[in-house]
Symmetry: C2
Subunit: 266 residues, 2 copies
């Protein structure tokens, strides 16, 4: 395997090339630094309208970056002719909502009726938070961001429904005010937080036990700040138990050619 | 008919009630002042996926505000149980892209496979422009905003393709700078302009002859400023000649319960 520090400085296309050749099967955080990474959901066309509508109705947790044509595995807008079947380090195949396989190449499972959805990720605004002096605790502690199911229902669409899932970053009130300003500039990758302070208002009982990802330290004088999270659409897909669904493995994202800064409207 | 000044101050639900009862069949500009108005496109379900994808791929000209469930004529998110078949003053029915009827109530034409799309409109940011001292010439001159087909292609989706259509407002450079700031706050209703200055760069030959709407005066020292326009998806629908499509008549919009200010992210 290539070392991490090398890949952090590489171009997105070079990193995807190495992933495609099997030279990198680890998480992608920090690779091709400064470029947006995306969540992947692949569904058969029979489910695609409902899922597209679900994302349209819930844009804050489900910000669509690109939807490929039915049967077409080639990304054209977010990257220059990347192959969605090979250019992600790890995939998960779910049968009726149950994880059945984890693998590094899905060409053998590809079908002519598959539709691929690339969904925005909060990684895209974290660099902007750091540049504004706001701590991103899970980066400091080298963990995955803590994520929680809330008591806020998404608007349902066809077979898809489920709760909004949030990611949480602890910070002071003063930092939270700046974080609201900074992330408001990124409406197409989750935008501003949806809550801060008391987690019980979101139906979250224990911040130390996230539903996805890892717990992080909340220091004296800090409050939790909650953003709508791109795991929301994946959770809705799993809960609805489609015959087959393919996603990236957690943390093993699709690296786009787009810079994070391109998603800032201000 | 009720007079205009009365309806300008009424609530959205009261205005929709009068429209539903046939007491108002005129344009809606300025009615229920301060509340967002929306464009309407109704298509059979066979076309709905392609159209939803077209809007997802072209969010600046095609900002979706709400998509109703298949066969369901009741608006629930943008308004409290409005009936999309009766609550717009005038509708147009198109057969294979050709206007076949204009009428004030479409209940007799409703089908169980119809999907209704409500699409954002630049009316939503014009009040903010006025409040910032920026002229909105077509309001001053009591005309429809001038709109032009450009040489910029939309990203196509299934059967739908076509050029980006823009609306144009003339102003000074200094006002344009402020207008860019102000409209950047409204990413879900077209957002910032896509061009200013030389119209030929957009393939527009003559500002005095818009493709839709009315020409307006461009004063000495003013430049044209161009925003992506909600007529874009309608033009794409007409060009693709579906068996049937129903839209609002130009200027006769759906009045939502949402305030324009709710669409500002800052």
């Amino acid at each position: 395997m290539i070392d991490y520090a090398t890949l952090a400085q590489e171009s997105p296309s070079e990193v995807r090339h190495m992933i495609r050749k099997g030279q990198w099967d680890q998480p992608t955080s920090g690779l091709a630094n400064g470029h947006t990474q995306a969540n992947l959901v692949i569904l058969p066309a029979d489910y695609a309208y409902d899922f597209l509508l679900f994302c349209q109705r819930n844009p804050q947790p489900c910000p669509l970056l690109e939807v490929l044509d039915t049967g077409d595995p080639i990304v054209e807008s977010m990257a220059d002719h990347a192959d969605i079947r090979t250019d992600i380090p790890r995939y998960r195949i779910y049968s009726k909502g149950i994880l059945s396989k984890e693998l590094t190449d899905i060409r053998a499972y590809w079908r002519d009726d598959f539709v691929s959805f690339l969904i925005g990720c909060s990684f895209s605004f974290e660099q902007a938070l750091l540049e504004n002096g706001i701590p991103v605790r899970q980066i400091e502690e080298q963990r995955n961001v803590p994520m929680y199911r809330t008591n806020i229902p998404c608007k349902s669409a066809g077979i898809f429904s489920g709760p909004v899932v949030v990611s949480m970053r602890p910070m002071t009130e003063r930092q939270a005010i700046r974080a609201i300003q900074v992330t408001s500039r990124y409406p197409s990758v989750h935008g501003a937080p949806i809550h801060f302070g008391n987690p019980e208002k979101l139906g979250i009982r224990d911040l130390a036990h996230p539903d996805f990802g890892d717990a992080v330290t909340i220091r004296e004088g800090e409050i939790p700040v909650f953003w709508a999270c791109g795991v929301t659409p994946q959770a809705a897909v799993m809960d609805s138990r489609p015959d087959i669904a393919i996603t990236h493995a957690p943390g093993h994202m699709f690296i786009t050619d787009q810079k994070d800064t391109a998603f800032s409207i201000l």
